[in-house]
Structure formats: structure tokens, C-alpha cells
């Protein structure tokens, strides 16, 4: 769609930071807290969600004319579940170790409210191209958030990052970080950091606007 080029860029970029599904919308907390005890798990979960979100957004957007309003949510869930099944079996075949590690959380992508939210609020109302671009942005934003949380927890809780040894053999691990409380603590601190940065940016923008007003 050549007419909406700048629009498409905006739709992609908003998911990365401003409307980040985790840091701004605080959606998809279940996989966020459950599988981020290492960066590899976070990447795998992020990748699986990426595939499911982009594929379902594409399908929902292309079928939107034929989906009756009354049963749209259940239709979205069926579409999402189809792709979750695809990724579930693919992971089982290709990366059995990671599939075992993630366990029940791969099928649980079906109930990730972030994915359903994108179908309801975006894909079902926009063209295929925009829907896919929005899904790409959101999926990358989600992946980024998962990776940030997983990295902090793996580095502090295990002394490694993506399996790479960072501190040598004498590292004293922070046991709490790979346990559930560590997930909550790290997520809280990351949310704090995000809103602090957002606030700072807003203040900066306001200052710039004021200066412009004074200048003119």
C-alpha cells in the first residue's frame, strides 16, 4: 500500500517501545513470568509467539469480511489455536530440548491475551498489510521484553547469558533470580525503568514544545 507508507512505519514502530505489549500494555504476563528464567527460553517463547501472532493477524485480517460479529472471539481463538498447534508440533520435532523446557507454556500461547487483543483491536479492522506490520512490531516488542527479563534473570541467577559463561567458574548465583519471586521483582523493576524513561521523554517533549511556542 503505497499511500500509507508513513502510517505503516508508525504501526510497526509503536509496538517496539511506545505501546510495547509488556512494558506499556502489561499484557501476556503469564509467559513473561513463567519462562524467562533463562535468555534461551525467553527467545524460544518469543519466537513461538512471534510466529503465532503474525500468522493469526494475517489470517484474521484476510478473513475479516466473512467472520460474523457474534462469534468473532471464538473464531479468533480457533485461528490462534491452529497456529499454536503448528508451532507446538514443530518445536517438538525440531528442538525437543527447548520444547521440554517450556512444557505447558507453548500450548498456553493460545490464551495469551496480547495475541487476542491484537486480533480484536487491530487485525480485524485493518488491511492485511497493516495487520501484518502491526503484528510484526508487537511480536518484536514482546520478544524484546522477554529477552530483557530473561537476560537479567539468567545473568544474575546463573552467571551466564545464552549459555555463555560471563563470570568464570567462581560465580556466586543469586538463587532468587531463577525462582518465581525473581521474575516478579525483575519485571517490576523493568516496568519502573520503562515508565521512568517514558516520563522523562514526555517532559522533554513538553519542554521542546514550550520552547517552540516561545520562539515563535
Amino acid at each position: 500500500m503505497p499511500t500509507s507508507k508513513p502510517d505503516a512505519y508508525q504501526e510497526f514502530i509503536k509496538g517496539l517501545w511506545r505501546d510495547n505489549p509488556v512494558f506499556a500494555q502489561v499484557l501476556g504476563m503469564c509467559p513473561m513470568l513463567a519462562v524467562t528464567n533463562s535468555a534461551v527460553n525467553a527467545l524460544a517463547m518469543g519466537g513461538a509467539t512471534f510466529f503465532v501472532l503474525v500468522a493469526s493477524s494475517f489470517l484474521v485480517s484476510s478473513l475479516k469480511r466473512w467472520i460474523p460479529k457474534q462469534v468473532r472471539i471464538s473464531t479468533y481463538v480457533i485461528i490462534i489455536a491452529t497456529f499454536v498447534t503448528v508451532i507446538d508440533y514443530s518445536l517438538q520435532a525440531l528442538l525437543p530440548a527447548i520444547h521440554k523446557e517450556l512444557g505447558a507454556f507453548i500450548p498456553l500461547i493460545v490464551v495469551n491475551c496480547m495475541i487476542l487483543g491484537r486480533q480484536e483491536s487491530f487485525a480485524s479492522r485493518h488491511s492485511i498489510g497493516l495487520a501484518v506490520i502491526d503484528a510484526l512490531g508487537m511480536a518484536v516488542g514482546f520478544l524484546f521484553a522477554l529477552l530483557a527479563l530473561g537476560s537479567v534473570r539468567e545473568i544474575l541467577g546463573n552467571g551466564t547469558w545464552l549459555g555463555l559463561d560471563l563470570f568464570g567458574p567462581n560465580f556466586e548465583p543469586w538463587v532468587i533470580m531463577v525462582l518465581p519471586p525473581g521474575g516478579f521483582l525483575t519485571l517490576g523493576l523493568l516496568l519502573l525503568l520503562f515508565s521512568w524513561l517514558a516520563e522523562r521523554r514526555q517532559k522533554l517533549a513538553e519542554r521542546l514544545a514550550e520552547m517552540e511556542v516561545e520562539g515563535t
Partner: protein, 344 residues
């Protein structure tokens, strides 16, 4: 017309002001803790002093960094960060690496106080939040107890105290079990007099029971703490353990041992009685203290941990808003029904 000496002074309430301020209360706590602190440093050596300094430094530095510029000076001057850091340090084992003590101070103030909105708004006792974090993050370091060095080894700082941040800790060979560990895992009691004067291993500030009681009484007489809270905790512990002893004197520790061992005294007098995180009403104070006492004995005797004072106080901290709500006194002149602000 302004008269120099009015016969009738008309002014809004409050007419009688209590001279007690936050900084005075904090100073009283520091005075009350001084004997037990000095005893702890004397018994565990220079390393203990360094741990106390590290946790105080962590607490004060975090307060400095996280407070807004205009509140910084006033908040730091009232000394609450120093008290939090000192209380945390007193509940740490003497062989802990200094950087962990510093981190505990940071977590105490950051997660335990500032994030809730600062002094007076926190739900949980900040020092215990820091300690709970350390115990969950470094379970081995937090439960390795070194023996007392005594005056001869005062200047010997243990190698584990100086372990580099994030690095593995080599604990010196001399580790010794605390009285509660001995009781729980080897079924061995400790002489009561040793418990009272603190000739046992344990956290830096928890061992000398008599000095802790002395400081606690000072605070109670200065009205810095509600005497009902420590009293009800100690009564509940003594009563519950007496009951257990009646059932089976061989298996369960007696009331005197239970009161003087572990961190019960420092917890009851200095942590549970924190006015911010304990109920305001007298009835609520009794409920709170009894709850803490019962939980302590439950965790110690029937739980997996040898010591449960920290979790008992944190759990009852969580119940404090509820207790406050249900023990609201009736407003004078209002009916007997609905004391909790119903619509009737």
C-alpha cells in the same frame, strides 16, 4: 487589635502537641540498640562491625539516590535509613560478605521503603524485606554461622567477609550451629545463661538477650514503641511452647529457651513494634503480637526452617491493614452498630 497577653487563647486543635518527632524516635532506637550492637561487635570481631557499616552505607546511599532533591536532606537527617541499615546488619550472620550486606541495605530501602512512597507508607518492615531478599538470593551465605572470635581474634576479619562481589565465597573452617539449629537438627539444648548473655553463635545482634531486653524496656518507657506488641509476642511464644512441653517435654523446647534463642527478642522489641507496619489500636496490637508469637513457634517447631521470626513478622505486617480495619474503636457519640464506617 492585637493584645500582648491574651486571657483567652483561641486556636484550632491540636492544642497539646507531643514533643516526639521522627528523628527523636530514631535516636532513641539507636540508643536502645547500642548495648546489643557493641556486644555483638565485641563477640564477633571487626568483621561484624564492617557488616553493620556496609548495610548502613547501602541503606543511606539508596535513600540519597532515590529521594527527590527537595526531600533528601530532611529524610536523611531523621536517621530512619541509619536505623533500617543497623537493624538489617544486626540480623545478618557475621561471616557474610560485605557486598551482600550492602546489597541488603539497598533492597531494604529501595524495595522496602521508597517504592511504597517513603517513610510511613511501607507495608512491610524494610529491614526484614532486605533480609528476606538476601535469604532467598544467597541461602548458603545467609545460613553459615561462624563461631565467636572473642577478644583475642577481634582484629581478624574473616576471608568470607571480604569476598569479591558476585564471586564464590570460601567460608573459614570454623562454622558452628546456632542454638536453634542444634535444637532442631540434633535435639540439643543450650545453657540458658549462655543464651542470655549471648555466648552462642547467630546473627550479629540477636545473641545477647538481656541487653536486647534492656534496650526494649528503654524504648517502652520512652513510649517509642507500643509495649503490648513485644509483650504479646513473648506471652504467645511462652504459652504455646509451654503447651507443647506439657504434651511432650522430651521433644519440644521449653518456653525460656524459645524466648531467649534466635532472633525473637530483637524481632519482638525492634522490628515487630515498628509503628509504621504494626496496628495502631491497642486491641490490634494484642492480635498482631499474638499472631507473630504463634507463627514463630509454628515455623520453628513444625516448619522446615530452624528460625521463623522474620517470616512471622512479615506475614503479620501483611495482615496489619486488615487488623486495623477490624479493631477501629467506636466513634464517640455514634451508635454501637457498624463501627467500620458502614452506611447505617
Amino acid at each position: 487589635m492585637k493584645r500582648p497577653d491574651p486571657k483567652l487563647l483561641v486556636q484550632p486543635a491540636p492544642l497539646l502537641k507531643q514533643p516526639l518527632t521522627t528523628s527523636m524516635a530514631m535516636r532513641d532506637v539507636l540508643i536502645a540498640l547500642a548495648p546489643a550492637t557493641l556486644a555483638g561487635v565485641w563477640m564477633f570481631g571487626l568483621g561484624a562491625l564492617l557488616i553493620l557499616l556496609a548495610s548502613i552505607a547501602g541503606a543511606v546511599a539508596t535513600e540519597w539516590v532515590l529521594l527527590p532533591d527537595d526531600e533528601r536532606r530532611a529524610q536523611l537527617a531523621n536517621g530512619s535509613a541509619i536505623v533500617t541499615g543497623l537493624l538489617l546488619g544486626l540480623t545478618l550472620p557475621p561471616a557474610l560478605p560485605l557486598w551482600m550486606a550492602f546489597l541488603g541495605g539497598v533492597v531494604s530501602i529501595g524495595l522496602g521503603k521508597i517504592i511504597w512512597g517513603g517513610l510511613g507508607y511501607n507495608l512491610f518492615n524494610p529491614a526484614l524485606v532486605g533480609r528476606a531478599f538476601l535469604l532467598a538470593a544467597f541461602p548458603v551465605a545467609m545460613t553459615t554461622w561462624s563461631a565467636q572470635t572473642g577478644p583475642t581474634g577481634f582484629f581478624e576479619v574473616a576471608a568470607s567477609n571480604l569476598a569479591a562481589p558476585f564471586m564464590h565465597i570460601d567460608f573459614d573452617g570454623v562454622s558452628s550451629a546456632t542454638p536453634l539449629n542444634l535444637m532442631k537438627f540434633q535435639h540439643q539444648s543450650t545453657a540458658l545463661w549462655d543464651l542470655m548473655i549471648g555466648r552462642t553463635s547467630g546473627c550479629i545482634g540477636e545473641t545477647s538477650g538481656l541487653l536486647l531486653i534492656l534496650g526494649g524496656l528503654f524504648l517502652a518507657f520512652r513510649r517509642d514503641l507500643d509495649w503490648r506488641i513485644p509483650a504479646s509476642i513473648l506471652i504467645a511464644v511462652a504459652a504455646f511452647t509451654s503447651l507443647l512441653v506439657l504434651i511432650d517435654a522430651e521433644r519440644y523446647p521449653g518456653p525460656l529457651f524459645s524466648v531467649f534463642s534466635g532472633s525473637l527478642l530483637i524481632g519482638a522489641f525492634y522490628m515487630a513494634s515498628d509503628p509504621v507496619t504494626s496496628p495502631l489500636t491497642p486491641k490490634g496490637a494484642w492480635i498482631f503480637g499474638t499472631g507473630v508469637g504463634l507463627l514463630v513457634v509454628l515455623i520453628r517447631v513444625f516448619g522446615g526452617f530452624p528460625e521463623g521470626v522474620m517470616y512471622a513478622i512479615l506475614l503479620m505486617n501483611a495482615a496489619t491493614p486488615l487488623i486495623d480495619r477490624y479493631t477501629q474503636p467506636r466513634v464517640f457519640g455514634k451508635g454501637l452498630k457498624s463501627p467500620r464506617g458502614g452506611h447505617e
